[in-house]
Amino acid sequence: MEPVSEVLLKGELGNVDLPSLVEIAASSGDEDVAVVINTPQQDLAVFVSDGRVVHAESSNGDEGIKALAKALAAQEGTFRLEPARKAPKITIQQSWNNALLEALRLLDEQEAKISPQTTSKEENMSQGKKTRERIADVLSNLLEDSVDIIGAAVVGTDGLIYSADFPRRDADEALIAATSAAVYGLSKRTMGQISEGDFVQTLIEGTEGYMLVRSINRSVLFVAVLPRDVNLGMAFAESRTVAAELAEILKALA
């Protein structure tokens, strides 16, 4: 691994975990940051570019999710955050949350050795779920894992609520669905007027946070509530990933 002179942060593993280091790297203001981990067994590097984890590698030759899983499992050794260190290649294209989940799943498989029968049963149960339940599961997982999205909903452009989970329990979900659809309608009309292509997403900034409305397909929207101190790059990337996942689920209704 190539040496660098400047270090943003360094320390001992055990005091801090990989997700926290990635969060610090993503919000450091530097376009490219490498999280370098040295353990007694191997050296690892996780590359963060524009707020997203794009590559991971190990001195043992592992790359991508496999190397990320090893970095996640590392418990003793040292770490340092190296700025201006660009990823040599892109091996991780999914969102940080999804990459993290995949890496955890890989670790689980390696360590717990889940039996194929159990996996098959779980898959069948998942497939047997109704579309709205699957949507609710996706939103629930997103809110559980993300620090950038604190509330979310999937709504139709006709105001239909497929699923909603907002931090304010007294939120009028029907009204939020209707206004989200109106935001979409206005934004889409505006894009048409300025001839800059199709609608993708609208971000509304408030004094205490943000609301994001993103198109899933022609008739369904993903709505996200973001906190004031959000990493917008991460939130956009997560929204893009979850919208693609929801689009697949919604194909069942087409």
Partner: protein
Amino acid sequence: MVLDSSAMTEEQKKMWDQLVEMLLYGLEKGLWDMLGDASFAVTNTVGREMLKTLEAKGLQVEGQDPGELASSVGKFFVDNMAIADEFDIEKENSTVALHVHNCILMDVEKDLIEQGVQPFLCPFLNITMNALRQNTGGATTITQFDVNPESRRCLLRFKILE
């Protein structure tokens, strides 16, 4: 709103009808120009308020059966308010369709369609949609809204999503 139509002359009643039609046309055309398909998002919120008003006037939407809910709304509009001549219900699996004949708003709908606007403010549509969403758990969408000015028939088809 309280309007004593009995005190109106025939000419005044006609003008009042024209005014209501003009307002409805202007509102739908204006919203459609701004929001396009997303104008349908107001169907639920408009329906919610209309349903509250009509429940105070005797409309009862109870139970969870989509056919019975749509039937309650249709019956109220035809029998109590006489805004259409008749209606039929067609129910199949997760869809329920409402056929309405000779609605008093047919001419406004016809003008809107001619202007490329898909009508979305319709008492049958707005209230049935809201009643279905309210009583069946929320997941109802409109899959068909055909207005046929020649036969003076409308078809509204709703789907309860799984």
